[in-house]
Point group: C2
Chain length 199, copies 2
């Protein structure tokens, strides 16, 4: 057994292709599959196919959905005049956990990244503009991640939205709650001072 058995090798390569899975973890997961019951393995394989085939993008906000419109876009109790622009469906989940935001979302499906060959045309920006033209939107909150690409995308989107008569805001940068000034990086500290508020 110089190397892994071929079916095990192939399976571990599949696990390896998932986000954040290293080589050793992938092999361990492949072994876990071997230790499953036949039935569990079948439902696992089926779960992959189900997720892939049943989940599509919401026609409106481009987040993931099992129906034409996602529950948030369909809801009567949400404020449809506030749209939070995020990178991906995971960001929607993160914001929904807070249970504080009552507006709706628009998922760009990524960020502008010349390094990865992702230009604005590959994002759902066209769809955002169409919503602004057709819906009654008062505010767009740009909530892409505070990374280089996320900031660049936020700038791009906010410039595009300038001609429209709507309020465009960006989520705040600053120290995360529970953090220590001593360990904060300079840029974060700078932004925290810049964004200071009266108390």
């Amino acid at each position: 057994m110089d190397t892994l058995l071929k079916p095990l090798q192939e399976l571990s390569e599949k696990f390896r292709s998932l986000d954040g899975v290293g080589k050793k973890s992938a092999i361990r997961m492949a072994f876990s599959v071997l230790n499953m019951s036949e039935e569990d393995a079948v439902t696992f394989a089926q779960a992959i196919l189900n997720a892939k085939t049943q989940i599509k993008l919401c026609k409106k906000c481009q987040s993931i959905s099992v129906s034409e419109l996602c529950p948030i876009c369909e809801s009567d109790t949400r404020d449809h005049s506030v749209v939070c622009v995020v990178e991906d469906a995971q960001s929607v989940m993160a914001l929904e956990k807070v249970k504080e935001y009552n507006g709706v979302y628009h998922v760009l499906g990524g960020v502008i990244s010349p390094m990865k060959g992702i230009g604005p045309e590959k994002l759902k920006i066209k769809e955002l503009l169409e919503r602004i033209n057709t819906e009654d939107i008062a505010e767009v909150i740009v909530a892409t991640n505070p990374t280089v690409e996320g900031e660049a995308t936020a700038m791009y989107v906010s410039r595009l939205l300038k001609p429209f008569e709507i309020k465009v805001t960006r989520i705040a940068n600053g120290l995360p709650v529970g953090a220590d000034l001593e360990y904060a990086d300079a840029v974060t500290l700078y932004r925290a001072i810049q964004g200071r508020r009266e108390i």
Copy 2:
């Protein structure tokens, strides 16, 4: 979207059931599947089924194999008179990587663990005794992990083998190479002193 979409939830639970996968990683993996091409998702599902159906236990050593006998048991160049008893196929892989051991293996398929309800009858000990009765074995190296259960299993196996006229050995405990005495635990240090050798 109070919770995850059902198909995504089901898939992430499947990932969660794998060894060493936490809740957050499982969700991230499920999202990775969504971002895969349809084709990749299908081959992923197929890889799970292939691994499960094509891999069986070697008739002789009980390690994993795609054929009746594994390559090690079938090999002419290996020393079939030395059998290394290990917990699982992963241990075989780890030992094979060293390229130093030229004997064969016997995989117990676990360790005795009263807490988990695993008694000796659930392990491939019967099969080991049968090999000792029918094959020409000179030495059995017990290489279960140096954990409480691994040690107990090693003791159990070595006692069972007492009546046979074969050498039974246990892999050495001691400091791992590159370790620091300062950080070694007391039991390991004690074993390292006990197992000292003339140089």
